[in-house]
């Protein structure tokens, strides 16, 4: 790699690091000067509450949690929650029902499209609620929720994202002002 390119590469790498250091510098000290802390049990409670709310997107036992919500506190950045969801429980395969019919595929697709807006709304609420519970996280640090959507190979995924990611700094999350990315 030529010297100028190497310089630019290093500069690019230094940017997020610099941003973190800047944000840390901007963090107001907590009352009494104690270091910022996020308790494990607090995170765990939020994780399970997140699971319950995601399950509640549809009628009972029709939405599946395929990856239980996990929360991770990244020092200087914030808290990231990840989860994996099956928006509609797929039809079961058994001797009298050995294949998925075209009608069922259509129904699953339509139902998922119907539940997508509900999922987005629920994710905003989860972020708001999490931001409220994570008092130890500075207002300027991020609260992130990434939900991966699971699909079977036979599914029609047109119009359906593979993942929805919502994030905001803690203060914005409390007011529901979040950034949404869908992949």
């Amino acid at each position: 790699m030529k010297a100028p390119h190497r310089f630019y590469a290093l500069a690019l790498l230094a940017l997020p690091l610099g941003a973190q250091m800047a944000s840390r510098a901007a963090v107001p000290p907590a009352a009494g000067g104690a270091a910022q802390r996020v308790s494990i049990s607090n995170l765990y409670t939020i994780e399970r509450a997140c699971d319950d709310r995601l399950r509640g997107i549809g009628e009972p036992n029709t939405v599946d949690i395929l990856g239980a919500t996990r929360g991770l506190y990244l020092d200087g950045y914030g808290v990231v929650f990840t989860s994996e969801v099956g928006l509609v429980t797929p039809p079961a395969i058994y001797p009298f029902h050995p294949t998925i019919t075209a009608q069922e595929k259509l129904q699953v697709h339509q139902k998922k499209l119907q539940r997508l807006p509900v999922l987005r709304t629920t994710m905003r609420e989860i972020l708001r609620s999490a931001a409220g519970s994570l008092a130890g996280v500075p207002d300027t640090q991020q609260i992130v929720l990434a939900v991966r959507l699971d699909y079977m190979k036979w599914e029609d995924t047109s119009g359906l994202p593979a993942m929805i990611l919502m994030k905001a700094d803690r203060k914005s999350a409390l007011s529901g002002d979040v950034t949404v990315e869908e992949q």
Partner: protein, 210 residues
Amino acid sequence: MSAPSCSPFDLKDYFYRELADPQQLQVETHIKVCPACREELDRLGQTEHALFALRDEEIPQRIGFVSDPVFEPSPWRRALASFWNSGPRLGFASAAMLSAALVVFALVRPAPAPVVRVAAAGAPPAVVTAPAVSEAAIQARIDAAVAKAVAPMEVRHEAEMRQVKADLEGARQRLILAAEEYDYNHKKEASAMISAGLYAPPQHGTGEIR
């Protein structure tokens, strides 16, 4: 999972018609208004229907008792009966057909015909007897006769193989579906264990950075 308990009598007693008439009627009335019991009965019916997928097999060897020689078939009749009931019958029939074809062909084979060659200008005409039909020609005719005889069997065999391939492909697709469902349910169950608190963190008094 046990049957719903809202039915006035055990649904399996109803299913097997073990209830007295008034009790059967009570259950029938209940089923009309209870989707859960109706579904339970459907499942029992499906289970019974599935059991009939297992067909009875033919007994591999007939059982016979002999104590009086008068009733015992002669050795010749026994041998003939066992031969015609066995696999070689088809092979024998094919071979018999082929042999018959050969014999018939041999009997009706035309005699070699004389060939008259037109002599070159000026030369006296001559009659030349053509040589007998060659071995290769005979073999070719036999091959053609055999091919014609086995052609219907080959057509049927090909159709059967196509059906077998189609069945196998269908089975393969169904297995893929079942495997995918298995993986899905596996993930769901693992997550359910976590959600149910089986992997809850130890309770500490003060917070810790995670």
